[in-house]
C-alpha cells in the first residue's frame, strides 16, 4: 500500500511560493531520498507535510495511508504516525527529555484511543533504545536538548522516533553536524526502524548519508519540483556532477 502520496503540491511561505506542483509517492517499506541544492524546497516539504504554521498549502493534495493528511492538525498528523526528524531540534528548557517523551507518547496513544504506557514499561523500553544509541540515561533526565551538542540532539531525534514508533519518517538533513562515528550510530538507529510497514523520506544534501541509509529511490528536487527520479545510482551521479544540469531544466 502507498504510505505517502503527494500530488501537485504547492506551498507558500510568507507569500513566496516554494513548492510549485510537487508530486511524489512513497510505498510502505521503501526508503526514498530527496536531494537538491540549497533553497530547492527540501525542508519546506517536510514542514508542510508536518503542518507547520505559516507553511500554507495553496494547491494539490497529500494523503497518508489513504487519509487526507492536510486537513489534520499538527498533533493529529503525529498521532496518525507521521514523524519529522528536525534539522535543528528545538531546546525545551525545564522539561526533562524523559518527561517530554513520555508526555508525547501518551498524548499520541490517547488520541488513537490506546492505553497509556505504564512508567515501568516506558523506562524499560527507553533504557534499551538509549543503550543502542549510546545515550546516557543521565542525559535523559536533563531538559530536552538544552546544552546538547549537535550530535547529541540528532541522537535524541532518533531515540524519540524509536520510542514513538511512527508509521512514516521524514528525516530532514539528519546527517548535518554529525561526525563519522555519530553518523554511524544515527544511521544504525534509523536502519533498525526499516520495516515492510514503514516508509521513509530522507532529505539530504550529500550522498554520504545514503551510504548508510540505502534508499530504494532517489528524487532530485529543484526549484520546488521533482525534476528527476531514479535508483540509488542517481545519488552517486549527483555527487559526481552536481545539480548544475538540473538548474537549467527547472528555470
Amino acid at each position: 500500500m502507498t504510505a505517502l502520496s503527494i500530488s501537485n503540491l504547492t506551498v507558500s511561505v510568507d507569500t513566496k511560493t516554494i513548492l510549485k506542483g510537487l508530486s511524489l509517492t512513497v510505498p510502505n517499506g521503501e526508503v526514498h531520498a530527496i536531494m537538491g541544492p540549497n533553497g530547492a524546497g527540501k525542508s519546506t516539504l517536510g514542514y508542510a507535510l508536518a503542518g507547520r504554521p505559516n507553511y500554507a498549502v495553496t494547491g494539490g493534495t497529500a494523503t497518508f495511508n489513504g487519509e487526507d493528511l492536510l486537513d489534520k492538525d499538527v498533533h493529529e498528523r503525529a498521532a496518525a504516525g507521521l514523524y519529522l526528524s528536525f534539522q535543528y531540534p528545538l531546546e525545551i528548557p525545564g522539561v526533562p527529555a524523559l518527561t517530554f517523551l513520555r508526555t508525547a507518547l501518551n498524548a499520541q496513544k490517547k488520541l488513537r484511543g490506546e492505553d497509556e504506557v505504564s512508567a515501568p514499561d516506558f523506562l524499560r523500553r527507553v533504557r534499551e533504545v538509549a543503550k543502542s544509541l549510546k545515550i546516557d540515561m543521565d542525559m535523559l533526565k536533563r531538559p530536552l536538548n538544552v546544552g546538547f551538542s549537535g550530535g547529541e540532539k540528532k541522537r535524541m531525534e532518533v531515540l524519540q522516533m524509536a520510542m514513538l514508533e511512527p508509521k512514516f519518517l521524514i528525516l530532514d538533513e539528519t546527517d548535518s553536524g554529525l561526525d563519522i562515528d555519530a553518523l554511524k550510530v544515527v544511521s544504525d538507529g534509523v536502519n533498525a526502524l526499516r520495516s515492510p510497514e514503514r516508509g521513509m523520506l530522507v532529505i539530504t544534501h550529500y550522498q554520504r548519508l545514503l551510504d548508510h541509509i540505502k534508499p530504494d529511490q532517489v528524487h532530485v528536487l529543484v526549484a520546488g519540483r521533482i525534476v528527476k527520479s531514479g535508483g540509488p545510482e542517481l545519488a552517486l551521479e549527483l555527487e559526481a556532477r552536481g545539480y548544475d544540469e538540473y538548474l537549467g531544466v527547472a528555470a
Binding site: H75, F86, L90, E91, T103, A104, A107, Q160, L164
Partner: protein, 488 residues
C-alpha cells in the same frame, strides 16, 4: 512525569475556574460600611481583650488619615469602603468543637474543594502519604482547625487567631503588629482595624513541627471583604512549613481581600511559607474578580534564622503583594520563589523586599512571570543593605514569559546598598513562548494546549520544585488551567 500527565488530563477536563460556585447558607452580617462602631462590633463578637480593641481603634483612626496607594502598575475601580460588609459569619456558633456542629453546607463546600476537614479522611489516605493540618476560614471566621490535639503534644499551637487572642493573649500581644505595624500601609491599617480571623502558629524552641500546616481561605458571601490576619512564630531552633490556599465564587462584582501575614523567626529558626493563590480572576473582559491587596512580611529576628516564601499566583483580578524578609539577625537567610500567571484582563504587581540589616545575611529571589491574554504582569522588588550589613549577598533572577501579542511584562527592581561590602546580583530575561518550540512539541503528538502547558511548566520548574510535593502537583495543574485558551 506523572504530574505532567495529570496536568494535561486536568486541562482537558476542567472548566476555567472550577471553584466558582456559591454556598447557600444563612449568614450573619455586621451592618454595611465602616466606622468605629463596626470595629467595636467585630471586637465584641470575638470577645477580645481590651488592648486588642484599642489597637484596632488606633489602626482605624490611622487609616482614616491615609491615602490608598497608587504607585503600583495596576488600574482598577476604587473600592467603596462604605459599601462593604466587614463581618460575615455562617449563622451557627463560632468555633465549633467537632465537625458535627458545623453547617453541613460548609462541610460540603470544603469537600467540593478537596480540603480534608476530617482527620480520619486524611489518616485513611494512602499509607505513607504526608498528612497536614488545616485551618479552614470561611468568609470572616475560622470554621475548624484539624489535628490540634496531636500538634499540642509537641507544644505546637495551631488555631484561629480569634482563639489565640482568647487562649494565648500574651503571645499574640508580644508579637502582633511587630513585623507589620498598623501604620505600615493603607491596607495593613485597614486590616488591623477590621480583621476578623486568620491563623495563629507558635512552634516552641527546638521543635520541628511534625506535619505541614495549612490554612484554606474561602470568600463566599457577596459584597464582603475578607481581612485575615496570620501570625506565625518559630521560636529558637524551631521549624515549620505552612501553606495557604484560597478560592472564591465567580461574581460580577469585585471583592476585596486585604490580608496581613507576619512571620517571626528567632535564632536558628526556619519558616517555609507557601501560597497557592487561586482567587476568582474575573472573566476574560475583566468583569468581577478579587482585589488581592496583601501585606506579607517576615522578620528574621534571630541569628541564623531562615524564611522562605514560595508563591504561585494564578488568580485575582488585581494583585498587589510583596512578601518580604527583614534580615535582622546575623547570618539570617531570606528566600522568595514566585510564579505569577496572568491571563485575560488580570493585573499583577508582585515581588519582594529583601532588607539586609544583619551581617553576612543572604537572600535569593527567583521570580517567574507568565503573561497571556491582555494581562499585565509586573515584578517589583527591592534589595537593600544597611550600613552594618557587611557581607550581605543577594542573587535575583527575574524571568518573564509572554504568550501572545497583547500582554505585558514589566520588571522594576530597586537595589540600594549603604555598604561597599555587600554583593548583589540581578539577572532578568524576557522571552516570548516560541512558535518553533510549540510546533516541535506538537509534531511529537501534543495538542496546542498540552504543548503550552508543558513548555510553561518547564519555564516555572525551578520554583515548583520549592513547593511541598503534593502542592507542586496542584500548582502545576493550576498554572495549566489558568492559561487555557491563551494561544491560537
Amino acid at each position: 512525569m506523572a504530574a505532567v500527565k495529570e496536568t494535561i488530563d486536568t486541562v482537558a477536563k476542567l472548566e476555567t475556574y472550577e471553584h466558582g460556585f456559591v454556598t447557600d447558607i444563612e449568614m450573619e452580617f455586621a451592618p454595611k460600611g465602616l466606622n468605629a462602631d463596626i470595629v467595636r462590633f467585630i471586637s465584641a463578637k470575638k470577645n477580645e481583650p481590651e488592648w486588642m480593641l484599642e489597637l484596632r481603634l488606633a489602626a482605624f483612626e490611622r487609616w482614616l488619615t491615609m491615602e490608598e496607594p497608587d504607585w503600583a502598575k495596576v488600574n482598577y475601580t476604587r473600592v467603596n469602603y462604605q459599601d462593604l460588609y466587614y463581618y460575615a459569619a455562617p449563622k451557627k456558633k463560632v468555633g465549633p468543637k467537632s465537625l458535627d456542629e458545623i453547617d453541613p453546607e460548609i462541610l460540603k463546600t470544603y469537600e467540593k474543594l478537596g480540603i480534608p476537614l476530617r482527620e480520619q479522611m486524611v489518616l485513611a489516605g494512602v499509607e505513607g502519604a504526608p498528612k497536614y493540618a488545616v485551618d479552614a476560614v470561611f468568609d470572616s471566621v475560622s470554621v475548624i482547625t484539624t489535628f490540634k490535639d496531636e500538634l499540642k503534644k509537641y507544644g505546637v499551637i495551631f488555631c484561629s487567631i480569634s482563639e489565640a487572642l482568647r487562649e494565648h493573649p500574651e503571645l499574640v500581644r508580644q508579637y502582633l503588629g511587630t513585623v507589620v505595624p498598623v501604620s505600615d500601609n493603607y491596607f495593613a491599617a485597614l486590616n488591623a482595624a477590621v480583621f476578623s480571623d486568620g491563623s495563629f502558629v507558635y512552634v516552641p524552641p527546638g521543635v520541628r513541627c511534625p506535619m505541614e500546616l495549612s490554612t484554606y481561605f474561602r470568600i463566599n458571601a457577596e459584597n464582603t471583604g475578607q481581612f485575615e490576619r496570620t501570625l506565625i512564630i518559630a521560636d529558637k531552633g524551631a521549624y515549620v512549613s505552612y501553606l495557604e490556599g484560597c478560592t472564591a465564587p465567580q461574581r460580577d462584582e469585585n471583592q476585596l481581600h486585604a490580608a496581613v501575614v507576619e512571620l517571626i523567626a528567632l535564632d536558628d529558626a526556619n519558616i517555609k511559607y507557601s501560597t497557592v493563590q487561586n482567587w476568582y480572576p474575573g472573566d476574560a473582559e475583566g468583569k468581577g474578580g478579587i482585589y488581592n491587596f496583601v501585606t506579607k512580611r517576615a522578620d528574621c529576628r534571630g541569628a541564623r534564622s531562615k524564611v522562605s516564601w514560595t508563591q504561585v499566583e494564578t488568580g485575582s483580578a488585581v494583585t498587589w503583594k510583596y512578601p518580604s524578609c527583614i534580615l535582622r539577625g546575623d547570618d539570617s537567610v531570606g528566600e522568595f520563589y514566585s510564579i505569577a500567571v496572568t491571563n485575560g484582563a488580570q493585573q499583577a504587581d508582585t515581588g519582594t523586599k529583601m532588607i539586609h540589616l544583619g551581617k553576612n545575611t543572604r537572600s535569593r529571589i527567583i521570580s517567574k512571570g507568565v503573561s497571556a491574554g491582555r494581562s499585565s504582569n509586573t515584578y517589583r522588588g527591592l534589595v537593600s543593605a544597611h550600613a552594618k550589613a557587611t557581607g550581605a549577598r543577594n542573587f535575583t533572577q527575574c524571568d518573564s514569559l509572554l504568550i501572545g501579542k497583547t500582554c505585558a511584562a514589566h520588571t522594576v527592581p530597586y537595589v540600594e546598598s549603604d555598604t561597599a561590602k555587600a554583593q548583589f546580583e540581578h539577572e532578568a530575561t524576557t522571552t516570548r513562548l516560541s512558535e518553533d518550540q510549540l510546533f516541535y512539541a506538537m509534531q511529537r503528538g501534543l495538542s496546542q494546549e498540552e504543548a503550552v502547558a508543558l513548555l510553561v511548566n518547564g519555564f516555572v520548574r525551578d520554583v515548583l520544585q520549592e513547593l511541598p510535593m503534593e502542592f507542586a502537583v496542584e500548582a502545576q495543574k493550576l498554572v495549566a488551567i489558568s492559561l487555557e485558551g491563551s494561544v491560537g
